[in-house]
């Protein structure tokens, strides 16, 4: 699956989150570009990424930073 994420770094939170199927690369790419163009017009600096993962759970495992706050990341690490 393809995931489009618009992320506000300083606030540490996701602004936009969309899912696309494996065959929707072009749609996802176009949507990403549209968001970037709009952010550029507004002078807003957000991170906009396209990520590919087996499912959303796998995405959370490898890109926890987008979904969890600092304390949650730390707490997840102490469970072993």
């Amino acid at each position: 699956m393809i995931f489009l994420i618009e992320y506000n770094r300083s606030e540490g939170r996701i602004i936009t989150f969309r899912e696309y199927g494996e065959s929707q690369w072009q749609e996802a790419g176009n949507a990403r570009l549209e968001i970037e163009l709009e952010l550029n017009r507004q002078g807003v600096e957000h991170e906009v990424v396209l990520l590919e993962a087996e499912n959303e759970e796998a995405l959370h495992r490898t890109h926890q930073r987008y979904f969890a706050d600092l304390t949650e990341i730390l707490k997840s690490a102490t469970v072993r």
């Binding site: 300083s10 570009l33 970037e36 930073r65 730390l74």
Partner: protein, 265 residues
């Protein structure tokens, strides 16, 4: 398909992005440039899937990250090796070593950047740069603990100070991250040695169990096995102790964050 950008055009685009003088057309050009990595990215990910791992792919680097890297380093856009890439998270260093060796076979000629013994501002991982049709694709291979540290560092940079990730920012947080990185490195080195010891001990134990009881040599081997068993028990205890050092550092960081939250309320 549009005509590919020349190297000069790519670097001029990079210069405009670095200077912050880029236009909407430049963002479209950057998108086309990133798109030119897609086929190589797909090839790399398919090969890794064929091997049995399912990496998470960052299909292409975000504009913000590209601009920051151009400003931070004296690098040209055409030289960036991480425009597209993917990430594999594995349990421990033994699995990481094994997987990196497999990547070398899957992608002959790939360059390997091992940041485990020489971390970059505390960041430890192995990056394998595979080249497909002239396009570099970065494969990040991390253990669970290396990954945890990277996530912590990124999140601290996001919400506390962007400079933390590159060795700057407030001393307190940089020092906390450095301590965790060093502690994790010690733990992982010990864990690797311990796992090898466990394996050897288990094989020794199995071999001794198959021997007849009465032979004198076998009695000697049994005594050696007892020594090895005591060694394994001590090693297991040391592994737990070293993990507790990590956990203590993490818990102290949680407490400090809780203090800060309370102060802000």
């Amino acid at each position: 398909m549009k005509n590919p950008l020349s190297k000069t055009q790519i670097d001029q685009l990079g210069d405009r992005l670095r200077a912050g003088s880029h236009t909407e057309e430049d963002l479209r050009l950057l998108d086309d440039y990133r798109l030119s990595f897609r086929e190589a990215y797909e090839t790399v990910v398919q090969k890794i899937r064929g091997y049995g791992e399912f990496p998470t792919g960052r299909v292409d680097k975000s504009t913000l990250s590209i601009v920051e890297k151009l400003r931070r380093e004296s690098i040209r856009l055409s030289q960036m090796q991480d425009i597209a890439g993917c990430r594999v998270k594995l349990a421990d260093i033994l699995q990481q070593d094994h997987f990196v060796a497999s990547l070398r076979t899957l992608f002959p000629g790939a360059s390997v950047i091992d940041r485990r013994d020489k971390p970059s501002h505390g960041y430890r991982a192995v990056h394998v740069i595979a080249e497909v049709s002239g396009k570099p694709i970065e494969i990040q291979v991390r253990t669970a603990l290396q990954h945890l540290w990277a996530e912590l560092s990124e999140k601290c940079s996001d919400v506390l100070d962007p400079a933390i990730k590159y060795g700057g920012g407030p001393d307190e947080w940089r020092n906390r991250l450095t301590s965790i990185s060093k502690s994790v490195a010690i733990y992982e080195k010990f864990e690797k040695a311990h796992e090898e010891f466990e394996k050897a001990h288990s094989e020794f134990e199995k071999a001794v169990a198959e021997l007849p009881d009465h032979h004198e040599t076998n009695q000697k081997l049994r005594r050696k096995l007892e020594v090895s068993t005591r060694g394994i028990e001590e090693s297991r205890g040391e592994k737990v102790r070293l993990w507790n050092v990590n956990a203590d550092l993490l818990n102290k960081m949680i407490s400090r964050l809780d203090d800060l939250k309370r102060q802000r309320q």
